[in-house]
């Protein structure tokens, strides 16, 4: 902290003498935090180790033998879980801190190994026969259990990803748009159900105070899945796209209320952008398909974009004030 500045403030009578003494003492005893450096190194280490082991196993599968590998991965997972059961703090429905800096990572390693273990079991030995659903269903259960029992947000995200994979959609941030074929009806309906389900889960989580800090993760995943599914529905079912637009309006309204209630600028931004995409689609469609304008339509669409963007800027500025004041 800028001690000369505070000396000046003290001379001007803005802070008391004791405060200045406190500030000086704080500055002298201030510690240099290596927290993020150490955490990043640890994370990199786990990333390298698990990746390296994966390749190593893949390359040497002929010499090691499947059983040995399976046993090794299983033991690693079991060892990790054993440690977590021993080290964890007592369970509670409130937030529980990790007992030490490494607990979260050991749990992560154990869970990842478990997922690999199940997948490997099926791939090599067809353990579950043709019930493919079980291959994602069982890890999902274990992940959800670990997330709640050991209080781990990262595992919860993994579990939600797994749940969606089990239902048939990929939701990791970078794959949500790439890997999903949104031109199929089933995936859109699955997405709708999943999105609503996750949002409701978030609500229950908060209302019942069951790990209330998990609520944001549920709502966040649910919100993106729901918005993308509704937009996809609008793009795909062109005959009734206005109906989907109304649905989009409903979702936007819900999150508008949520943003105000939770004072979340993040929700506000997300709902603004998604609804802008939806509205623009409708306008462009009306201009070029319904009215069949050509060059004039291009002019109109450009003006539309300029006008609405200006409007949205004023909307965001107003909302910023409103949420701040709330």
């Amino acid at each position: 902290m800028d001690i000369p500045l505070f000396e000046k403030l003290q001379a001007n009578g803005l802070i008391s003498d004791e405060s200045l003494v406190k500030l000086k003492a704080y500055e002298n005893s201030k510690l240099f935090s290596l927290h993020w450096e150490l955490k990043t190194i640890l994370y990199l280490g786990i990333l390298l180790l698990s990746g390296g082991l994966g390749i190593l196993v893949y390359k040497n599968i002929d010499t090691i033998g499947h059983t040995a590998i399976l046993v090794f991965i299983g033991l690693l997972s079991a060892g990790g879980f054993l440690y977590c059961f021993k080290a964890k703090l007592p369970f509670s429905f409130a937030k529980v801190a990790a007992p030490n800096a490494f607990f979260d990572y050991v749990l992560l390693l154990a869970c990842l190994c478990f997922v690999t273990f199940i997948g490997y079991l099926q791939y090599q030995y067809h353990f579950f026969g043709n019930r493919f659903g079980l291959v994602t269903f069982i890890p999902m259960l274990v992940l959800f259990f670990s997330a709640y029992y050991f209080d781990h947000l990262g595992i919860l995200s993994l579990a939600i990803t797994n749940l969606c994979a089990w239902a048939g959609i990929a939701v990791t941030p970078l794959r949500i748009l790439q890997d999903n074929d949104f031109s199929s009806n089933t995936i859109i309906y699955t997405g709708l159900v999943m999105g609503v389900g996750l949002i409701v889960t978030g609500l229950i989580t908060r209302a019942r105070q069951i790990k209330p800090h998990f609520a944001f993760t549920y709502t966040n995943f649910g919100m993106h899945i729901l918005f993308i599914s509704v937009l996809a529905g609008m793009f795909l079912f062109t005959m009734v796209y206005l109906l989907w637009f109304v649905l989009l309006g409903g979702v936007v309204f819900y999150f508008y209320r949520e943003a105000l209630r939770t004072k979340s600028f993040y929700f506000l931004l997300v709902l603004t952008l998604y609804s802008y995409i939806g509205l623009s689609y409708v306008i462009i469609r009306i201009l070029f398909f319904t009215l069949n304008t050509d060059v004039g339509g291009i002019y109109l669409s450009f003006m539309y974009f300029i006008g609405t963007a200006v409007g949205l800027i004023f909307f965001l500025i107003r909302m910023n004030k409103k949420i701040k004041a709330a």
Binding site: M1, L9, L14, I15, S16, S19, K22, K30, F32, S33, L34, H35, L38, I41, L42, G45, L48, L49, G52, L53, I55, L56, A101, L108, P139, L153, G154, S157, L158, T161, N162, A165, A170, T172, P173, L177, D179, D181, F182, T186, L231, F265, Y266, L269, V270, L273, G278, S280, Y281, I284, Y299, F302, M303, F305, I306, A309, L312, I313, N320, I323
Partner: protein, 387 residues
């Protein structure tokens, strides 16, 4: 020189300091509020997410306005001078930027967007009008970004100005002939080294508050450029590509041993000095550059197969992190492994859990609905914003 109200910028700095003092329980709430009252700042700076939204929307407005203007002009005058249009438009956007700054916008997303759009339009326009050489382009970028840094104190502009300056020095120097070409790495190292020390000294004297972030970013750029200039891989491959140095597959460059030493020792020095001086910039840049050392060595010497190296490296990192944390169980020599007071945006958004979901999630969707590319999203009228 600075466009924003300088008094307010300095007041913002005082307010930040007061906030930090309050968060570390050194001053009371009334004291903080008194300071805030005594140091007013009337900027319009909305929340970070609102800033992102305003940035995107402003970009949309600027682009479609350009499109509209282009349509009108090209159809009316039958004139196809796109470059000229870009330059004129860039100047218009700049005027808009000055106007918005007068309107008290500061880091609101609007001023950020207008700044980048103006700079981009002018540079792009000049390049479209004439065939501009590398050196001229670097010079142009240096002048523009330097001006924008001086006027708007933007940190990224500071980094761009720094890199453009190094590029100008580099491109000028290599014109001097073969001896100059052979000594380029050393010249760049001397220049960046001196600049680093100069900026560092300047920062110590507590310059005007708004520029400190930009100058710190310049320090980071200087440290990285200093390393890159002496890196064996960069020197060798640049010599081959740019100076047509005729080297065989395993042939080393002249003074190769020296560059190897520099490649390995510079990050070590950074980390060592960073720890000794408790300088987070030096320390973090040094840690980052360890990756540079590893990649450089592995590029020329395949000592270990990749997966073995990954396993060994992974174990080493885990053990390192574990033992340092253990060692610092109780704070030693002024170091701690616990979180500092600065709250990170990363914490609030739970970025860590998303990173975990992305990097570790191996679960594929079941085969029957498996990956099919070209799914139909983003077809809606070109609006950006897929998050």
């Amino acid at each position: 020189m600075i466009a924003y109200n300088e008094q307010w910028l300095n007041n913002l700095y005082v307010r930040d300091e007061a906030n930090r003092a309050f968060e570390s329980d050194c001053i009371g709430k009334e004291e903080k509020e008194r300071i805030w009252e005594a140091y007013p700042a009337g900027f319009y700076s909305p929340n970070f997410f609102v800033r992102i939204g305003l940035f995107i929307l402003t970009c949309i407005i600027v682009q479609f306005s350009l499109g509209l203007l282009g349509l009108v002009i090209f159809s009316a005058f039958d004139n196809e001078n796109i470059g000229g249009l870009f330059i004129v438009y860039g100047l218009l956007v700049y005027a808009g930027l000055e106007f918005m700054v007068r309107k008290k916008h500061y880091k609101s997303g609007v001023d950020d967007a207008l700044m980048w759009m103006a700079a981009g339009a002018v540079i792009g326009g000049i390049n479209a009008v004439a065939d501009v050489s590398w050196l001229a382009n670097a010079f142009l970028i240096l002048i523009l970004s330097g001006y924008f840094f001086a006027r708007f104190a933007n940190a990224i502009m500071a980094a761009i100005a720094f890199i453009a300056f190094i590029a100008v020095v580099f491109l000028c120097f290599i014109r001097l002939g073969p001896i100059a070409k052979a000594t380029t790495p050393f010249l760049i190292m001397v220049v960046t080294g001196l600049l680093y020390l100069g900026i560092k000294q300047f920062l110590k004297k507590k310059p005007v508050a708004p520029y400190t972030t930009g100058l710190t970013v310049m320090c980071i750029a200087a440290l990285i450029c200093f390393y890159v200039a002496g890196n064996y891989y960069v020197v060798r491959e640049a010599s081959i590509v740019m100076f047509k140095l005729d080297l065989q597959e395993n042939e080393s460059i002249p003074l190769g041993w020296l560059f190897w030493i520099l490649t390995i020792i510079i990050p070590v020095i950074y980390i060592g000095r960073g720890i000794q001086k408790k300088d987070p910039v030096l320390l973090r840049v040094g840690l980052l550059l360890v990756a540079g050392v590893v990649f450089t060595i592995r590029y020329y010497y395949h000592v270990l197969p990749a997966e073995t190296a990954m396993v060994i490296g992974g174990i080493f990192f885990i053990v390192l992190s574990y033992s340092v944390t253990r060692y610092l169980h109780e704070a030693k020599y002024g170091f701690t492994h616990k979180k500092g007071h600065d709250a990170f945006l990363m914490d609030k958004l739970q970025v860590e859990s998303l990173v975990i979901a992305q990097t570790f999630s191996s679960s594929q969707t079941p085969a029957d609905t498996g990956p099919q590319f070209g799914g139909g999203s983003g077809g809606g009228g070109g609006a950006t914003g897929e998050f």
